[in-house]
Amino acid sequence: MTQLMNENGIRCDGRKVDQLRNVSIKVGILKNADGSAYIEFGQNKILAGVFGPRDVHPKHMANQDRGILRCRYHMSPFSVTERKNPAPSRREIEISKVIKEALQPAVLLKDFPRTVIDVFIEVLQADGGSRCAALDAASIALADAGIPMRDLVSACAAGKVADQIVLDVNNEEDQEGQADMPIAIMPNLGKVTLMQLDGILTPAEYKTCLQTAIGGCKQIYEIQRKALMEKYFGNGGQ
């Protein structure tokens, strides 16, 4: 069992309790997708591609008043320590749903009745917090595709490790820690659109964990904004 935190409050990967892993985002890296983004979040390597708005098949799934959002979160067989069967697992299906519901409030679906916006996420390498990293990439891919949005969606997790609230839980901390709370917000509107909790927290810890995660989301937002600005406006972007 890994020692998750040493006497100086340093975590198993060398980080301090309030330190985010390294995050980098590349925008518009795929040729066929309408919008795309690639994110490296710690050891996570995740690709997001967006198509749409486009025609819905089968036709009976179309909504007459608004567009629909579809989301597929999938892990490549080589993305995890023990090779994973390519068929979607129940975990992937659940994550697909919560990611879709995290993006829905941000997308202006009323503008595109009878169409669908497809968000496809592929985890090429997983390392704890992949659903948050996936959301961060998906939100940029939507903006890259020109889908009108009320706000970006920024996601990050906080958790409890060695009795301390920490920011951005990695794989070992997720497996052997005491709690994991992934969160996503629309940063300018201040609305939380994804939230889950795995583990046990006192009411006070819950509040701290929530604030910590939101602080992480805001840091992610700055990285997302920079990535979009650089892609579209070069170094002249403000």
């Binding site: 903006a143 009108p148 706000d151």
Partner: protein, 233 residues
């Protein structure tokens, strides 16, 4: 009057106060917020964003280039680079009194044909209706199709057609620009054709950067005169 511009991403508050929201923004209380990646413009009391990406949203009277993807005995279906499929009714081509068979439709326009058409009618409750009843509309017999971002089309046309005229005169090519971002370039002169294609792609890549007109003219080998370089309507 001065136009205030800024680079924005979705969620950015452009301004607060009694302004009228126009394209690609929405109102949240008294804040006007961008919905797209693009350049925000505040002009008098209106606010809008010119997006740098995004699909084509049909508008009545738009000229579009469409590709036939199917037909029944009543109409042809077109890919017009939008989430909506364009429909051209058979009677638009055959007249009201004639009921053509499916084969007769196929003979006029078959799957894979490119057509210049106008959007006759579009409201979001139904797919856009097209028409080819006009002198310059109909099947495109020759030329090369280039796809540019629909948001760059105004830049390719230029103020009162200045950009497109510059390219056509310098290359002797004929360029048909669809508002949906599909552009057909045709010419008998292969060198002129390649230069025209390059110019169109250059505008697509650099539409949001300043001094584009100078750079296009320079690439085409045209004399640089005075020309206003604005990100236009």
């Amino acid at each position: 009057m001065e136009v205030k511009r800024r680079y924005v991403i979705p969620g950015d508050v452009i301004i607060t106060g009694p302004f009228r929201p126009e394209q690609n923004v929405y109102q949240d209380g008294d804040k006007i917020v961008s919905t797209s990646v693009g350049i925000s413009e505040i002009y008098e009391n209106t606010v809008r964003v010119i997006p740098l990406c995004g699909i084509y949203m049909p508008k009545t009277n738009d000229l579009v280039i469409g590709k036939v993807i199917g037909h029944s005995s009543l109409s042809w279906e077109f890919d017009i680079n939008s989430c909506f499929v364009g429909f051209l009714p058979a009677q638009d081509v055959f007249g009201r009194d004639y009921s053509p068979t499916k084969d007769e439709l196929k003979e006029r326009l078959d799957v894979g044909d490119l057509v210049a058409a106008r959007v006759a009618n579009f409201d979001r409750s139904r797919d856009p209706l097209l028409t080819v009843q006009d002198r310059d509309l109909g099947k495109i017999e020759s030329g090369e199709l280039i796809e540019i971002a629909p948001s760059k089309v105004p830049r390719l046309i230029g103020k009162r057609g200045s950009m497109i005229q510059t390219i056509e005169m310098a290359t002797k090519a004929m360029i048909t620009i669809g508002q949906n971002g599909w552009v057909v370039v045709s010419s008998d002169d292969p060198v002129g054709l390649l230069k025209a294609i390059e110019a169109v792609k250059m505008v697509d890549a650099q539409a949001h950067l300043p001094n584009l007109t100078e750079r296009v003219k320079s690439m085409l080998g045209v004399e640089l005169g005075e020309n206003n370089d604005t990100i236009n309507e």
